[in-house]
Subunit: 204 residues, 2 copies
Amino acid sequence: MGRPRAFDVEKALDAMLCVFWRKGYEGTSYADLTAAAGVERPALYAAFGNKEALFRSALERYVERYLDYFPAALELPTAREVAGRILHGVVDLNTRYGEHTGCLAINGALAGPDEAEPVRQALIDFRAAGQERLRQRLERAKAEGDLPPGASPEALAAFVMAVSHGIAVQAKAGVGRAMLEAVAEQALSTWPAGGAAAPASPGR
Amino acid sequence: MGRPRAFDVEKALDAMLCVFWRKGYEGTSYADLTAAAGVERPALYAAFGNKEALFRSALERYVERYLDYFPAALELPTAREVAGRILHGVVDLNTRYGEHTGCLAINGALAGPDEAEPVRQALIDFRAAGQERLRQRLERAKAEGDLPPGASPEALAAFVMAVSHGIAVQAKAGVGRAMLEAVAEQALSTWPAGGAAAPASPGR
DNA sequence: CCAGTTTCATAACAACCGTTATGAAACATG
DNA sequence: CATGTTTCATAACGGTTGTTATGAAACTGG
């Protein structure tokens, strides 16, 4: 009962996500948000809460809509393939849309005033969680002999994520896909070779 | 003649530079700036112009005060040493001060509202200029046989800068120096071996 | 010591920020 | 059709943004 919604909440969130993607959390005003969503401020407050809660909803949407390549990459058979898929996935996502290049998890809030620190910390935790998942995957690779005994899964995970972040910064600066592909390939060029063959199906 | 300055312009600029470093261009308010400089707004306007001009002055100061390692790195004899010095210089600078980690050229303005686009573009140009200087240095290295004929100075320069940016993002997120050193080393492990020996003094 | 000049802080400016109180509009149920 | 409930836009809230007009304070020159 009651008056029905006059706007599509999901579509509005998708649209606002793109604004956050382009302008970041602090750089996005409610004037931007209402223009993108097509409804006025009170409707957004009723549907999503305040600006911080709205941004967190946008981040969740970002994950399920654009970051599916990441868990898929983790399931590839070799560590080298995992890293390659991640880096090329980053290049693809960060250069796919001309209006909002780069990565929401970095554009969203890197530096800013003290009041925005909760959001900044949320993005830090978010990125760290991804890095941790990659580290565990590389740990497994090392146990399987897919990485040499001297390799450090923690350092390799940090390296892959750092290159990803660097690619995101460059993409936001307007660097084209071809150049960033070359950056990814350079990063992959000396991936440590494992002593064993393919871990899951060694005989294939 | 006239009333003399009651504050040290250079010290004020140094102090405000640190604020921009920590909070970025948009995230820094005049309340922050006056608190750091120790003088009120009109004094800053008289000495530096408006906020954008003030930020540009801070960026210049940043270069001459913190980025001296970069031109020094370009003068090292081999491309590998150049890249190594740059990456380790980045790690050092980005983790040296706990109050303002990361890099001003990235923290300053990555994403933001449309009004701040001139500042964003200035930082993009600034970073691109550094990358171009590195590219020219690597071009020379290739001509000297310090890099293999198949190597791409443009891609290698983009790679080194991308890793630098990634390190800056991680440093801003609180990642420690040791881990970032490992990232830099992993990046350097991908460096292509040159065909010739040391270029300038091959017999040494 | 007075006139001229430069620099300073106080205080105000309009514009915008995120947030919310108010009341009209649109539905389901009785 | 009236009642209750939910959602909407209008409009305002206090606070902060970058910028500047005003006038007092501090110096050098004559």
